[in-house]
């Protein structure tokens, strides 16, 4: 990446940072849901682990780990897609697209914003989990870095596809930015193993990168081992998902240029 590209990407990131600096409700909203989720699930797990049995304590760790790591996926996807929607809402896309900002630079800028938003959203929930329930997600060890990276990459892939739909259908598709991951969650084996699902549904679950991450998380928390096979699958599937999403995005971007939608994306 050249210095010119880096500067254009920073321009896009600066635009969003300036927005957040000036809008405390947006910052509050970032942290609100992850913290709320952690409080609710924390009390549920505290109740389950009330008798201090080892099994219940491990189950509590699995649940809290699932909540935190799934929040990373969710916030990564929303951080990307909502940053794009901010441009739609402010009717600024016309200016962005007549600037020398390349599509891949825009995607990189949105991904950078997604990282920043995810950190701001999930860090308070992580600290809360440790302070209130004694659960430190970092206890997973260095493999946590791979888990987080794989989940964030999956979030970006979904967000790219959602952004492509917004390019195709305008702000009418914005509900997907908020809700699409909730539709994936039941098949992503966040709180239960893939084996719990009906046999015909298991191949669907195993095609989702997050399902392998959560299998890996359970292996680490319950058996104390690193499930390299699941990690490899997660990374490989992320590559496939990202490639597919990039293709959909570029195709829709081109179609938007053919239809003349870039100047007036809206409702």
């Amino acid at each position: 990446m050249g210095a010119s590209s880096a500067r254009r990407i920073w321009g896009l990131v600066y635009r969003h940072l300036a927005l957040y600096r000036r809008s405390w409700p947006r910052v509050l909203e970032l942290m609100y849901w992850p913290v709320l989720q952690m409080v609710v699930w924390g009390f549920i797990t505290a109740y389950l682990a009330g008798v201090q049995q080892n099994t219940a304590t491990i189950a509590a760790g699995v649940l809290l780990g699932g909540v935190l790591l799934w929040e990373i996926t969710l916030r990564s996807q929303m951080g990307f897609a909502i940053s794009f929607l901010e441009e739609v809402w402010s009717r600024n896309l016309g200016h962005i697209f007549v600037s020398p900002l390349r599509p891949w630079e825009m995607v990189t800028g949105l991904a950078a914003m997604s990282v920043l938003r995810t950190v701001a959203a999930v860090l308070p929930a992580m600290l809360l989990a440790f302070m209130l329930y004694g659960f430190g997600v970092w206890k997973l060890g260095p493999v946590l870095v791979v888990f987080v990276s794989a989940l964030m990459a999956m979030g970006w892939a979904v967000a790219l596809a959602v952004t492509a739909l917004i390019l195709r259908h305008g702000a009418g598709a914005e509900a997907l930015a908020w809700g699409v991951m909730f539709g994936i969650a039941p098949f992503a084996a966040v709180f239960y193993p893939v084996a719990v699902l009906p046999p015909w549904l298991q191949p669907v679950a195993l095609s989702i990168p997050a399902a392998h991450v959560f299998e890996g998380m359970r292996a680490a928390l319950i058996d104390g081992r690193i499930a390299w096979d699941h990690l490899a699958w997660a990374v490989a599937l992320d590559g496939v998902w990202l490639a597919l999403a990039a293709w959909i995005f570029l195709a829709q971007f081109h179609q938007a240029r053919v239809r003349g939608a870039l100047l007036n994306i809206g409702e």
Partner: protein, 250 residues
């Protein structure tokens, strides 16, 4: 020899297969250092033309060379030296004027950006509200900010869509003076779409009259007035829009 600011050949856009083209075989060569006007009624093809010149819209056929760069294959090289302003596209309204200018300063890779912003703030008299959110400004203030944004990279080619729409006469005159000054100082080419005939008469060296997606006439404002035997461009515009005979043909 210096390449023209715009070389447009056979530019055509059909949105729906089989339908009448929105722009139909548009060709012109616009030199550097001049201001040209794009005139036409609603639906004449002005916005579609500007979108294709900016690379926002893929033509059905034909080509655009902007500052020597083919917009089909090399548009980002041209876009770095172009800019655009339209009252129908907003700047992020929660960001201050200065923050907005910084965003576009980065996007266009402006050297010595803070100095350039300070110059624009002084030139466009933005000082009193440079640190206020753009969404809190009046229409006139927003137009001045949009123009400052459009000049942030000192463009060699500036495209403007109705630059003085909804402005009071004083602010409109102020904007026109700023555009004249900019062109004279930098040698930039300016293409403006406008419904304000007095503005076009004052600013433009050449005018393209569009109707039904085609150039139905072109020339300097003085030449068009003589050709149609009219006293002002508004009457020429009405003659063309309503299909009246030209004075020379009578």
């Amino acid at each position: 020899m210096e390449t023209p600011a715009l070389l447009v050949e056979g530019l055509t856009k059909t949105y729906t297969p089989g339908a009448r083209p929105a722009v139909d075989g548009l060709s012109f060569t616009m030199p550097r250092g001049e201001t040209w006007g794009l005139l036409g009624g609603n639906g004449a093809g002005k916005s579609t033309t500007i979108a294709m010149l900016l690379g926002l819209l893929v033509p059905s056929s034909g080509r655009v060379l902007a500052l020597g760069h083919d917009m089909a294959t090399d548009r980002f090289a041209a876009l770095a030296r172009m800019n655009f302003s339209s009252p129908y596209i907003a700047l992020p309204h929660r960001l201050t004027v200065r923050e907005n200018l910084r965003v576009y300063g980065h996007l266009y890779g402006v050297p010595e950006m803070e100095r350039r912003i300070a110059d624009l703030v002084a030139e466009f008299d933005l000082g009193d509200f440079a640190d206020r959110p753009a969404g809190q400004l009046s229409a006139g203030q927003k137009t001045r900010v949009a123009l400052a944004k459009a000049l942030i990279n000192t463009p060699a080619l500036l495209l403007l869509d109705e630059p003085t729409a909804s402005l009071d006469p004083d602010t409109g005159d102020w904007v026109r003076s700023a555009l004249e000054r900019y062109r004279a100082e930098t040698g930039a080419a300016i293409l403006l779409a406008s419904h304000n005939m007095a503005e076009v008469e004052r600013l433009c060296a050449n005018v393209l009259m569009l109707k039904g997606g085609r150039v139905v006439d072109e020339g300097s404002p003085a030449a068009l007035l003589a050709k149609y035997g009219r006293d002002d461009l508004e009457e020429v515009f009405l003659d063309i829009a309503r299909g009246r005979e030209r004075a020379e043909a009578l």
